[in-house]
């Protein structure tokens, strides 16, 4: 994710050590915990998440914002709750 003013992450899901489809299941279950318009992050080493988090957004009508990394270097995928 680029831009100097990164939006605050309202909920960070620690999915380290989980394999597909568990990170996306976690996202599907818990994104409703943040208000519409807020950002949820999924932190996982699962290589499938790079494709499946954007695919989940497309299928579920949410907005995929991009990828950065958590402090420990693990990939972090950012999603805005649209509905």
């Amino acid at each position: 994710m680029t831009g100097d003013e990164q939006e605050p992450v309202a909920l960070e899901l620690d999915c380290r050590g989980m394999l597909c489809p568990l990170p996306v299941i976690e996202l599907g279950r818990r994104h409703v915990e943040v208000p519409v318009g807020a950002v949820v992050a999924v932190v996982t080493e699962d290589p499938a998440a790079r494709t499946d988090v954007p695919a989940w957004c497309r299928m579920r009508g949410q907005e995929y914002l991009g990828e950065d990394s958590a402090a420990d270097g693990v990939a972090r995928y950012l999603v805005r709750r649209v509905g």
Binding site: R29, A48, D52, A55, W56
Partner: protein, 355 residues
Amino acid sequence: MLEAALTRGYADPRALHGPGRDARLLLDNAREVVAECLGLTRDEVWFTSPSDAVQRGVLGLVAGNPRAGDDAVLSAVEHAAVRHALGWHARRRDVVPVEVGVDAAGRVDAAAFRDAAGAPGVAVAALQLANHEVGTVQPVAGLDLPAGVPLFLDASASLGLLDLPGSGWAAAAGHATSWSGPPGVGLLLVRRGARWANPFPGDPEPQDAGGGLPDVAGALAAAAALQATAAERAEVDARRRRLVDRIRAVAATLPDTEVVGDPVDRLPHLVTFSCLYLSGETLVRELDRLGFGVASGSACTASTLEPSHVLAAMGALTHGNVRVSLGRDTTEEQVERFVAALPDLVGRLRTEVGL
């Protein structure tokens, strides 16, 4: 025919003695049959293993084009055999193969592919006739590559099912399983006039089995199967397309499920879909319990735990993936049983997940 091959074709067809000449006759007969089915001449057809056909096919064009440079262009959805062959070549020359992306249906953009192939230093471009996982046909016929850049055509998933383009490619590979032939037989096809040179140790010209002992019985069985497939192709093609359409239609009604690959311009027998929140491995196991043998491109079904590079390149959901390949004799009853079982199974597994 196979019996004749086993009793008469056991000898080494490279030998000059009587049994050797007999085996040579049978092998050339098989070559002739294959050439006729594919619209080629017999000196363009070589029998070898499926992986050798890919490796020698694509790398032979690089070796035959020594002044062009070391770069290779391929689509992002090529079979692992092509990716591995070009990756192996590139590592030795300290270059990186250029991958051209695909759209959501898995089809490469012909103009982007042509542009990439036209870059300086490109020795070969590789593209499949149709994708082996999602069935989408690639725009091979309209490629019109720059002069001097040969096309390697990977027809391993499609030979016998789709027509081979009459021109526009220099070498190709086929795998007899795509036309219900024996699994160990591959075809290396090298066009007349193509600049091809053996990339591996041995004679510079193409040879059966890479110069090793040819499998005469396998070649004959493959040729007979190709002939039979060609004879029944129109009928089997129409039936399988109808059955695939049926599975696609039912899969599309499942909640949170996407059917992937081109709905029309595709291989006749393949259908692929992905179910959100479900594990591909669980789907494969549960369907197997119900009597359906299916494949999956999901990471959990791969030894590497990496998802299918085809699905990833398309941006398609990689988990919960199911790939159904219909045999030439798959019946409507079997397909109806499958589509009847699918909604219950997906519903039950989703309930277990709680979503």
